[in-house]
Symmetry: C2
Amino acid sequence: MSAPVAADLLVLDRAAQDMLFRAARTANTFTDEPVTDAQVAAIHDLIRYGPTAYNGQPLRVLLLRSPQARARLLPYVSSSNRAKTASAPLAAVLAADVDFHERLPELYPHRPQARDWLADRAARAEQARFNATLQIGYLLVGVRAAGLAAGPMAGFDAAGVTREFFPDGRHEALLLLNVGHPGPDAWRERLPRLPTADVIHTL
Amino acid sequence: MSAPVAADLLVLDRAAQDMLFRAARTANTFTDEPVTDAQVAAIHDLIRYGPTAYNGQPLRVLLLRSPQARARLLPYVSSSNRAKTASAPLAAVLAADVDFHERLPELYPHRPQARDWLADRAARAEQARFNATLQIGYLLVGVRAAGLAAGPMAGFDAAGVTREFFPDGRHEALLLLNVGHPGPDAWRERLPRLPTADVIHTL
């Protein structure tokens, strides 16, 4: 692992740094060991404290537990992602609730009028996508905090998944996620990361 | 803190859970203690391992260190966010590099043709925003891993900040971020979080 000096400038201990980021990998294969509802609830109970605008928390997670539900997903998954999605212990659709603003009087009680600031659907959908995506970042960290490997997949027909699983018209699918314990040959070599000098600039 | 049973189902130890999520808060005031470039580099060195599609890593961070740079930002910040942005030890613009695909031959070397799949600017900009937003989720966790408080702010004129700070036309501002040690009265009471049953559904 790289950069021992940088790691020592953090307060989070090194084992946690490794579990959440440095040694964590996107898994492409999984063992048969199941992921329980209690584990999923524990992950949500942790990551729900991550910040969102207006405390709106627009992320919704649809677990595809039944063979029927999993089978409905597969036609929308890119061919290179299909086998691992079919065999993962848990597959989930991560979506934004475009009508998250309906809960704001309860979630943001000191400014109940925030619901009305979000009356425009297109502007609200953009907020929903942005903040649900932030929450997906927290969720991937949370899956790792549970000792599990996450397999996020952007290679799928998002409009098709939205139509198939959210006929209510108020949700938008953003990402697919496989979760489990890593199986044999779960990953390739670590791909290169950008140097800090190419990412952080100063004025 | 809530849910001791759920917390025990995670592998990450409780102190780290508290530091990153349960006890962490969005700070509205900060002390004068500076945030060093070495701390910022250590945070990036940790969170750069978070996953992105095509390993594209489109997040870019512009630190506004000089009084002149900070002054250029303030007119674009909503009035309710202006005082804390003016006084935070560190203020940053978090942006997506829409032309992140230029680095893919280096970052995703096993499929160098990925750069060409992203030739369409509008589709690429959507990818850049989505993956940079995921990385902002990792970054907020990383700021907390450094023992610092993050103050993310969506209340600003994003198009104006993009024009002001990224005249190259290849970046889009997504979020403002204040970083520092929490000052007096840094936060209100914790706002309510959605119960898991309202967020996680199963088919």
